[in-house]
């Protein structure tokens, strides 16, 4: 028996907007003689939209009406009804996300989102999604190598590093294909102020309204390419170069395999030579030359460049297919309060060893920040707990919730949620709703969405960054 669920991914970037729809197959993969193990066994992208330019009113403001219209048309073209969507993500990326209209965009699009779609933004998350969408995560697992994926868009470069399928670092840089734009006459129409310093240091003669020298553009693009190579091979950066990191630096991990996605990647993996200003300005920005520069730099260095599964669509594919997880298959929930959204995580025993004897104390300390909000209590828990330990945990949790009106929501890593959930439920009776799920790892600062059940599991979305800017 297999269930299908529909997922949407919408990526609204500085330059482009894309939509994909995917179908997930969810199935119990355990034999009939074992406890169920429900997993996502297949992810098929059933529709990819064209790549639209993001409609803007001004350079700073997204045109909400046009955006809604554009996305509405894609739903029609894909023959998808929004009520059939059960999960997915809208992600606002690049420079757009830093503009104050991000939240407005999400509100405007919420009607397309169905009941359970995450709306989120943030450079790090974007990097992670692109790394999943490009296939970097999968390659790192299959090839047993550290893989770095640079997703180079119009405004930013978002990098993620994977080892054995797991994310080990993510970061973003103010480097992109549309930081300099040209008008039809080939004159400079825009220079992002993010790169002013670099231009000064390189003593390049680039000014808005002027026709640039090809060589100046070439020097700048080669500089960007070299910075990327330096980061990839973990070489030391200069102070100006470090200034290009957004929010935080990388963790200085050395990757063995390099991959590029995003719009600029289309020029990295092509065979076109970009040797003149005309070649460069073909699409009104420095993207083609930047891509060509990266190709040259990496060829010189002799490093292995792997072609991604998705280039310009990597982020939207990642958003549409990798933002959701399924809980363990033996859990406890009360369906009438699902879905629940944006529940802050209260991680008990933060980082330390988990001594159940001090559990109620630890929960009380952490939960005091949230007076009457719904929260989710999270911890790892023992691998195969004894029933005595389950009872002890249940009693601690119940005692803390005695004077709270909120439902009891528990998220644990190891496989004992049904045992703990039932034991809690037997103690609180009908006075409180109980949700207890396992196989989910979260940290303090995360927020969690829990969806309606599928085959006795619940889909979960963990949000690490919500509008941090």
């Amino acid at each position: 028996m297999a269930d299908k669920i529909l997922s949407v991914g919408i990526d609204i970037g500085t330059t482009t907007t894309q939509v994909i729809f995917s179908e997930f197959t969810v199935q119990n993969t355990a034999s009939a003689f074992l406890v169920p193990k429900v997993q996502i066994v297949g992810k098929d992208i059933i529709y990819r939209s064209e790549i639209h330019f993001t409609p803007l009113v001004s350079r700073e403001m997204i045109d909400l009406t046009k955006l809604k219209e554009l996305i509405g048309k894609e739903y029609v073209r894909a023959r998808i009804h929004k009520e059939d969507i059960s999960t997915g993500a809208i992600i606002i990326t690049g420079e757009t996300a830093r503009k104050e209209n991000a939240e407005k965009v999400l509100n405007a699009l919420s009607e397309f989102a169905g009941d359970f779609v995450v709306a989120t933004a943030g450079a790090d998350l974007e990097a992670v999604l692109a790394g999943f969408g490009s296939g970097a995560a999968a390659v790192s697992r299959a090839a047993f190598r550290k893989v770095i994926n640079f997703d180079i868009g119009g405004g930013t470069t978002n990098a993620s590093v994977f080892s054995e399928g797991e994310l080990v670092d993510s970061f973003a840089l103010d480097i992109g294909g549309r930081l300099i734009r040209f008008n039809k006459q080939g004159k400079v129409a825009y220079i992002s102020d993010k790169i002013g310093k670099i231009i000064d240091v390189l003593k390049l003669n680039l000014q808005v309204g002027e026709r640039p020298e090809f060589e100046d553009l070439n020097v700048l693009c080669m500089k960007f390419a070299r910075i990327i190579l330096k980061i990839a091979s973990n070489e030391k950066l200069t102070r100006e170069e470090e200034g290009l990191f957004i929010q935080h630096k990388n963790k200085n991990l050395k990757a063995e395999t390099f991959m590029f996605s995003g719009g600029v990647a289309e020029f990295i993996y092509s065979n076109d030579t970009i040797a003149t200003l005309a070649d460069t300005a073909k699409f009104g920005d420095i993207g083609p030359l930047f891509g060509y520069s990266i190709r040259r730099i990496f060829k010189q260095s002799g490093d292995q460049l792997l072609e991604p599964k998705e280039k310009i669509r990597a982020t939207v594919v990642g958003a549409g297919t990798h933002s959701i997880k399924l809980s363990g298959s033996t859990i406890l929930f009360e369906e009438d309060i699902l879905p629940i959204k944006n529940i802050p995580i209260v991680k008990v025993f933060n980082g330390g060893s988990e001594d159940i004897d001090f559990m109620d104390q630890s929960i009380r300390e952490k939960i005091s920040l949230y007076t009457d909000e719904d929260v989710a209590i999270a911890f790892r828990g023992p691998k195969s707990p004894r029933y005595l330990q389950i009872k002890k945990m249940a009693e601690s949790i119940v005692s803390v919730f005695e004077d709270r009106a909120n439902p009891i929501i528990i998220v644990v890593e190891n496989d004992f949620a049904k045992a703990l959930g039932q034991t809690i439920q037997d103690r609180v009776g009908n006075t409180k709703k109980v949700i207890c799920i396992d196989n989910i790892k979260v940290d303090t600062g995360d927020y969690i969405d829990i969806g309606k059940p599928i085959e006795n599991t619940v889909p979960v979305v963990i949000k690490t960054l919500i509008f941090k800017n």
């Binding site: 199935q27 993969t29 297949g42």
Partner: protein, 458 residues
């Protein structure tokens, strides 16, 4: 005294008279001691009675055996398949031989002579002569017969000793499965097939694993076969959806009733065979894989009062219809109620191997034991070595013989390599060449580099 037109089912031994109800009773009581025959209540009451049954059996002609199948023609499609496939010309050459004479014919003839009469045999004849053979007889006779078969590569040629790589995993975890595959290939194991027994029987899992095996074989240029040993109907569905399948597997039994307990009948097997002809991903014309094992008919109450050796022989008669690439008995897989100890298991392994070979199959043996049998790994090692002497086509290879999914022990990657060295046998040629280019084998022996699965990781 010769039986002429009528059957004689009575004899005297050391002054005591032994008489038997019918041929089925003689066949049962002539069996070497097996717990399963005792459980079925058909075993000889004493050692002397067992020998008396052998004496009576030795005088029965092959024609009489053909005329008295242990399950009637009208009642059972397995009987019908075997009976209807008999080549009358071949049968006429041997029909008047007694079982005792037939034994001597097999022991004294060469391979071409045996193969000339083979298509005249029914499974009851094959089983009957087995009951008159000692263990060394079984090794000697089986060793004469080679039954090569071709899928992507050709198995069963003189001088080869092959192995199925069995990477079973209790959680069907694909990475865990591949860890066992890498370990196995690093010992030169897997030339017969890389074949998984899945925990769950579902189409996605079958497809996923077949693809994964194919990918591995292609990546490292390893010429072999892939297989996932799910139920035939699951594999068919996976095949219809385009999975790359070299071999289709099914467990079979020696009666229609017991096959139904496996959820199959001849029509289903025919359908699977036809579908493979159309959609298989292998090159050759042998693309079926069957497993059998003494006791499975009794355990599903489909033995019709016959002994487990005879019922086992009938599995091979059925298998023959499908020109399989692989057939192996899983000897000792159910437990002590069928094969009590190492002695019974070794006997059963030699019997099954001989019977399969005589039937014309590329016979392999899974030398298996459960932890509630009075048997241990030493018994399995003895059986493997005897089988190697008998030119058994293939055995199983598992990490340290421990099947972490089926919770029993079989034979190991190390055993396969060891037997090849002891008996100076080789893997299938193309597979060996691939092992040589991977640096795992040289002149038929493992190199320094062998036994290190990490060579497939970096």
């Amino acid at each position: 005294m010769r039986a002429g037109d009528f059957l004689i089912l009575k004899t005297k031994l050391f002054g005591k008279v032994y008489s038997f109800k019918n041929i089925k009773d003689v066949l049962a009581k002539a069996n070497e001691e097996k717990a399963g025959d005792a459980l079925a209540g058909i075993i000889a009451g004493s050692s002397a009675e067992r020998v008396a049954a052998k004496v009576v059996l030795s005088e029965i002609t092959l024609e009489e055996l053909r005329n008295h199948p242990v399950v009637p023609y009208e009642e059972d499609e397995v009987t019908r398949i075997i009976e209807d496939s008999i080549n009358e010309e071949a049968f006429n050459k041997i029909k008047s031989l007694t079982v005792g004479e037939f034994r001597e014919f097999l022991l004294s003839s060469d391979e071409p002579s045996i193969k000339k009469i083979r298509d005249g045999l029914t499974s009851e004849m094959v089983a009957a002569v087995t009951k008159l053979m000692s263990n060394m007889d079984l090794v000697y006779a089986a060793q004469k017969i080679k039954n090569p078969a071709t899928c992507n590569t050709t198995i069963g040629k003189q001088g080869t000793f092959s192995a199925r790589l069995q990477p079973n995993n209790a959680k069907d975890d694909i990475e865990g499965i591949m860890a066992s595959v890498m370990e196995g290939v690093s010992y030169g194991v897997g030339d017969a097939v890389i074949g998984l027994n899945p925990v769950g029987d579902n189409i996605n899992m079958v497809t996923l694993v077949l693809n994964k095996f194919k990918e591995f074989e292609e990546k490292w240029s390893i010429p072999t076969q892939n297989c996932v040993l799910a139920h035939v109907s699951t594999q068919m569905e996976s095949l219809k959806r385009g999975a790359p399948m070299d071999l289709m597997f099914q467990s079979i039994a020696g009666s229609e009733k017991s096959n139904r307990a496996f959820g199959i009948d001849v029509a289903v097997l025919d359908e699977a065979y036809a579908l493979m002809q159309e959609k298989k991903s292998c090159i050759g014309n042998n693309f079926m894989y069957f497993e059998t094992g003494q006791g499975s008919e009794l355990s599903s109450e489909g033995h019709h009062g016959a002994d487990q050796v005879t019922m086992e022989a009938r599995c091979y008669g059925l298998a023959k219809r499908y020109h399989p690439f692989l057939v192996n008995t899983v000897v000792g897989f159910i437990g002590p109620e069928y094969l009590y100890n190492g002695k019974q298991t070794i006997r059963a392994g030699l019997e099954d191997h001989f019977m399969g070979k005589l039937t014309g199959l590329p016979m392999g043996v899974d030398c298996c034991h459960t932890n509630h049998m009075a048997s241990d790994q030493n018994d399995s090692e003895i059986l493997e070595m005897l089988l190697a002497e008998a030119d058994c086509t293939y055995i199983m290879g598992l990490p340290v013989a421990d099947d972490v999914m089926l919770m029993n022990q079989t034979t190991s990657f190390h055993d396969v390599a060891t037997i090849r060295e002891i008996t100076n046998k080789r893997p299938i040629k193309e597979f060996e060449e691939s092992m040589e280019s991977l640096g795992i084998m040289e002149n038929g022996k493992l190199t320094e580099k062998a036994g290190d699965p990490s060579i497939f990781m970096v």
